[in-house]
Amino acid sequence: MRRLARLAMVAALGAISASTIYPLVFMLLSALKSKREYLLNRYGLPHEPTLVHFANAWTYGDMGQYLANSAIVVSAGVLLSWVVCGLAAYALSHLRFPGRRAVFLAILGTMVIAPQVIIIPLYVTLIRCHLHDQHSGLILVYVTFATPFGTYLLTAYYRAVPAELVEAAQVDGASHAQILWRIMVPIGRPAFLTLGIFNFLWMWNELLFALLILQKDTARTLMVGVANLRGQYTTSIPLMSAGLFLAALPVLIVFFVFQSQIQKGMTMGAVK
């Protein structure tokens, strides 16, 4: 009976896995079909697989250049976000100061602003700061948008860390920098890596601000290249699929690297 229940559970998990794999398979199969074959045979296996869409997506989407741009923007965004959110979360979780809860709620409050209303004023601000058309402008906007989420995530994580740990270190005469570097960062490793995954994902996939801020062709990011593969009337699903597949590969690699690091943190038993 127990065995049966266990089997059923694994089967259910397997079904969920299948549902997550299927769309990617659908995408890959579509990318391998010629435009005509996709029209006549949308859901089946390709009869005459072709790699032409991958080649076209690479050239039309100018992916070589855009890939480098995306890598710059996203890695800078992830790193900066770690610094900004890590500092803020440490203060909010383990330092005592008046109005702590108010500051926390205020940061949370900025998360609630719908991006659509602030697009235009934000764009004007960037121009006044001479940050438009530059990677640095997009990076700062990304870090800003990631800040409420990241601060909240790290704060939630740090609150589970016993206050005694930090207090003991303070009694021992450790400076804030030492506490941060020697205690908080190692303990927070899984949370930092999780935040890294999240930021990498959405910054990599973000489109609207990338389109808006980077008008220079040489500065544009990968998703802009992929988005431009959509036409006014026609989206060639095979071509799009090929572009998306290429764009998704780096994310998968980053995930598996980060996830194995999280795993290390878990087995090390970070909090002793």
Binding site: R42, L95, V112, T144, Q259
Partner: protein
Amino acid sequence: MVFAFLFLAPAAALLLTFRVVPAAGALWHSFTEWDGVAPATYVGGANFARLVGDNTFWRAVLNNLVLVLCVPMWLGVSLVLALLIHQQVPGWRFFRATFFLPSVLSPVIIGTLFSAILRRDGPVNRGLETAGLGALAHDWLAEPATALPTLVMVILWGVFGMGVIVFLAGLSAVPSEILEAARLDGARGWTFVRYIIVPSLRHVIEFWAVNLVVWSFTSLFAFVYVMTGGGPGYATMLVEYQLYLEAFQFNHMGYACALGSALFLMVLGVVLIQIRLMTGGDD
């Protein structure tokens, strides 16, 4: 105390410059008639008066509330799956890797894929028909009765993997001694979850719940845009989507700002109530 403010300074500087100041501008413009470009004209509360009588707005609010009510489900699924992986059920490494796959795809892509898969002649309905369940086949995203529930399920598919990652990271912070001790005490199944796991993960669960609520109000634009466009009719209209239409399709930036202000108050209200309920007000 000086250090606290110092550590908060970068976050504060960024948020003030790129979120608060633009948002304050939007708040002011919600009392104007404005096309986003030409000088705005002050019209007092006219936009809010229109909002009160705007059927589309109220329909959108209703749909948004339905989504908020789905948050416990979105959260629960992730939590259960994360626990199972944490317990290292057979094949957990494989499950952990595959559950993440949807997160690699941006909402636009998820929406495009599911629009194709859920079509009347798509694989889902084909599968049902093959299984002899043809009566259950629907035009999922286009029938007024099924459109919103289908949207909810697609969003679940898109976010559950992220929830799993968050909870796994949270679980890794729970000292393994606590888990071991509880198990030795004979805590199993529901008791184990209710009395050991949930209290240890309290802050992380609260975090993810708040995040999902905020997200359900402000970040579903791409899903709706690609899959239904708010339709059929207004069946999947969300406030955020109406805001986009008013701002960028109809040139009513002033009214869009008013919608944005209303949305802000609405979400803030829901989140504050939620935090109070979940933490009982303690810090």
